[in-house]
Symmetry: C2
């Protein structure tokens, strides 16, 4: 028979079991962390009406979206989890209680040009808090504090959540009479890391047509850096010149104060005036998160405050704040850097029960005892030689095998073998459960991410 | 501004938060149960090359599939999790260890005519065991035993896993010289519940062109029922007439014996000779699962043994056995029948901390204490009147509120209010964590499904 090649499309992540178990652990930590802060899980369809998804329109989105017809319907695959959230909140406004706190972890689709580390199908792990009419500033500190908690639980310590406020930028441009050119200026300033300050200044003068003194002002402003206290102190001299700036500055001060209250260490968040976030959608606090040792990766978690979540669908004013982890790319990058741990159990089971007798009753009953103790237990039932069975356990990197031969059945015990150190002991099923549980719990303490 | 209607496509399930929390609990129980038997999680792309998904071809599939092009690529959305599994095993054969045991819980897509209770996007929750060349018969008993465990954990007790063996049917048709007409006969016999035995007999004679005595034979055979022991005993008289029948009969006897060993009670599994499963793909044991009180719902969990998982992609002989729960439909049906429990916590949090002071430090620290004790804790920070805060807690059906006013801060205690019985007590943060944890654990004991 003519065979079809069993290929997976490029740009689509499909992992072997050990890697899949690692990313599942990450998914589970994110789910649990988000839930622990009182966010409710949401699950919206992958397919939506194209009209709904593209209500906002916009260039890049339209180009990248997977759009198709089925019967008379013009359909598309979601390209983020924010637009479906907006639709959901607008549609269910009367049934929801505000602030509405939801998390959603799901796959989104963007038909980007395929290249290493770029995915067309990828997981986003989002949290958002939506207010009805208004929303307290503390949320803008709690959101990055939750991200700090989540990353810490994943084992990441060397990361910085960079915080800025769009009102500070808008206010600064207003006080310099540059509001109209602000987005052009921001795009140019964004190149500072690549081409250097002097070249940016020249571009501002030549292409954005700014006066040299104004360009200087912009560069001086963007050059403000240092500890959070130092940045705040440097910003003080701009106060009183523009009400939007003052409002944003007060918000930034409040957010940094609350971030400390929420227990985020000073080294894990930093005021960074160069963070603007491309989307015109954000109106206040904005976030980007970078890994200290891998700045070239760019932001691994971004978001911010917006004033109007669902204006395309409803007249209700729904301000909110949200953040998103691009999990597929993060996992890819961490794997590439070799900082995904090899210590965790990646076998499908913690214990592999190997029956050596025809009657499986004792093996089956013992497997149930182990399982009831929370041990993932596989009963191996293929008719193979002992050596083949052990080699199966080895290949899967199963931490424990449990041998059930004639003698064990007679004595009512199990021969428990630690596959790492080779130690083999006879224990009653209950004691075996206890023994294995403790070892598995110990192995479970290792974090998914292990930084060098 | 012209608004776009925030609609969700028909045939796509999108739940309000309390219902979503219920189905998440079901998903989590299925994940944990599958994992506890040593199945490894798998996550394949939703989009595959159309050529790969349609390698087998076939009428219904081609009609229902979501298929579209992007650039030069002919793409399609997966319509089940079995074809992606076949592709995965064929593609990664050398890296996998056999028996390969995987579970996959994910959304699949079928553009069926939309009608009540029919979904175009729905969750399947599958387990499969794949052998390399051969696979022991015990797996054919373990698979339904795992389903018994999963349903029991969900709270379902009134269900029957119906078991048959395709070889018994094929053997029976062979011994009657009716092999060529077997699929036509099976389709006709399938109508027995609707039109009755006499009418089926007439159809077999008139349309399938069978001799009356042969039609009689078929109906006699299909009428065999009773306890598992009675069915086995009735089947004994067919033994020795066809080798395929004998083989299937031995397998059926082995499967029922092992089902007992695996602890599945006699009332939850039944030999049912009318089960054939439409797909020509199954070759041995087949399963369907029905709810005792709601037979009209049809099968809620089906599967069986197949000899050639991935013949369209590889020459390797990969026999397997698998089963699938259609979770979205099951949830819909259970909700319609009103047997999804109302006792479980459906609030986004277990405890809602209400700070009444400007300084949030003590409230934030206390929330962290609760969270560390495993309590899902939301800090409420909106500037609202006390009454509005309590009404928010009520609307969300939060089990506990934790009030942090001036007095509490001074005394270093929390006022913990049980929202169900109104009881309010002052406790240290650690004692509060203990108090709430115990109550939440008690509420967590209720199963998702509560049969009347």
């Amino acid at each position: 028979m003519q065979k079809v090649s069993p290929r997976t499309l490029s740009g689509f992540m499909e992992l072997l079991p050990p890697q899949q178990i690692k990313i599942e652990r990450m998914l589970s930590i994110l789910r649990d962390t988000y839930a622990s802060y009182g966010f409710t899980p949401l699950d919206t369809p992958v397919i939506e009406s194209a009209e709904v998804l593209l209500a906002k329109g916009g260039g890049e989105t339209e180009k990248q979206i997977y759009r198709f017809t089925k019967g008379d319907s013009d359909l598309a695959l979601r390209f983020d989890l924010t637009v479906p959230l907006a639709k959901y909140v607008a549609a269910n406004y009367a049934q929801l209680s505000f602030p509405f706190r939801r998390y959603q972890i799901g796959k989104v689709y963007r038909g980007e040009r395929a290249q290493r580390g770029r995915f067309r199908e990828f997981y986003q792990a989002d949290i958002d808090v939506i207010g009805d009419g208004k929303l307290d500033i503390t949320n803008e500190a709690e959101i990055p504090a939750i991200i700090y908690d989540a990353f810490t639980k994943l084992g990441l310590t060397k990361f910085v959540i960079r915080v800025n406020n769009r009102k500070i930028l808008n206010g600064f441009y207003a006080m310099n009479g540059m509001s109209e050119k602000s987005s052009e200026i921001m795009r140019t300033v964004d190149k500072i890391d690549k081409i250097g300050a002097e070249n940016v200044k020249q571009l501002l003068i030549d292409e954005v047509k700014m006066l040299p003194c104004k360009a200087e002002n912009v560069l001086d402003f963007m050059a403000i850096c240092g500890s959070n206290a130092e940045v705040v102190s440097a910003l003080e001299r701009y106060r009183g010149m523009d009400p939007t700036f003052d409002c944003g500055f007060d918000e930034l001060i409040a957010v940094t104060r609350y971030l400390r209250s929420f227990g985020v260490p000073e080294e894990n968040f930093r005021i960074d005036l160069t963070i603007a976030r491309g989307l015109d959608y954000y109106t206040g606090t904005v976030y980007e998160t970078t890994m200290t040792d891998y700045p070239e990766i760019g932001s691994i978690c971004s978001g911010g405050r917006y004033d109007d979540l669902a204006g395309y669908y409803t007249d209700k004013v729904l301000p909110g704040v949200g953040i998103s982890i691009g999990l597929t790319r993060l996992f890819y990058v961490l794997s590439e850097q070799g900082i995904i741990s090899d210590e965790m159990i990646t076998a499908p089971c913690d214990a592999l029960v190997l029956p050596m007798t025809d009657d499986l009753s004792f093996a089956i009953a013992s497997a149930a005892v182990l399982r009831n103790a929370g041990i993932r237990t596989q009963l191996y039932t293929e008719q193979k030689k002992f050596k083949a069975k052990m080699s199966y356990a080895d290949r899967l990197a199963v931490p424990f095998t449990v041998i059930v031969g004639e003698d064990e059945v007679k004595e009512g015990v199990l021969s428990v073998k630690n596959m790492k150190n080779g130690e083999q002991i006879k224990l009653s099923p209950a004691d075996a459960a206890d023994h294995i549980s403790r070892a598995v719990a110990e192995l479970g303490k290792s974090t998914v991410i292990k930084e060098q």
